[in-house]
């Protein structure tokens, strides 16, 4: 399941809900990744734009890959401002056994970073600045420049 929230994530509440779900489903391995905004470069917060239609497709394709391995994915992400020391991103994998879960969390989080349609901004003295140097071109970028 994919969950989007305005502002910071309530990590403990989401963790609890996901965990209880997995317990009922008899999954043996449950891995969560939590991304927290670090205090660095004088930022007050990070801020995010999310394009939900394509994010949903991206997520559903991953969910199908996970299901084919008997696993299940969850993800939560923030929209808008997320202050330093709070969390903007959670991902989770459930699986009967550990090996599949350990491999999936790695592949899923890496592909998320590379291709999920989310844009990050540093917030400094109240102003948003696009984090261009930390951003990644989606696979197939540059099409419209080639003619």
């Amino acid at each position: 399941m994919l969950e989007l929230y305005r502002g910071e994530l309530d990590v403990d509440k989401i963790f609890f809900r996901w965990r209880k779900w997995g317990e009922r489903k008899n999954y043996g391995a449950f891995i969560t990744f939590v991304g927290t905004v670090r205090a660095e470069n004088d930022i007050e917060a990070l801020s995010f734009d999310v394009y939900e239609p394509i994010l949903t497709q991206w997520f559903e394709e991953w969910q199908q890959k996970a299901r084919a391995k008997g696993a299940y994915l969850m993800m939560a992400h923030s929209i808008g401002d997320v202050p330093v020391h709070t969390s903007s991103y959670m991902a989770a994998v459930f699986s009967p056994k550990r090996r599949v879960a350990l491999e999936l969390i790695d592949e899923f989080v890496e592909d998320f970073k590379a291709n999920a349609p989310i844009w990050k901004y540093d917030v400094i003295t109240g102003k948003r600045r696009y984090a261009r140097e930390r951003s990644h071109k989606i696979v197939g970028s540059g099409l419209l420049a080639d003619t």
């Binding site: 349609p117 844009w119 970028s141």
Partner: protein
């Protein structure tokens, strides 16, 4: 007419264009000096599906979306 949308940091309002295919859209957008720097690094979706080629026919009402470099998490 097709609608062209610019996501995230591009910060530009949608525009309407006459275009039969994605090549027409490319040619039109390349005329915009401000957009030029984005074209080389944007992915493209047609009706919310990412495409990997310019050989895509467009019909009245189609939506073309430009996705600049991403960084979730």
């Amino acid at each position: 007419m097709v609608q062209v949308e610019f996501l995230g940091p591009i910060g530009k309002n949608p525009i309407a264009l006459e275009a039969k295919n994605l090549k027409d859209v490319a040619k039109e957008l390349q005329k915009d000096e401000e957009l030029k720097k984005w074209l080389g690094e944007c992915a493209v979706a047609v009706n919310d599906r990412l495409v990997q080629t310019l050989d895509v026919e467009l019909k009245e009402g189609d939506r073309v979306t430009l996705l600049p470099p991403v960084c979730g998490g």
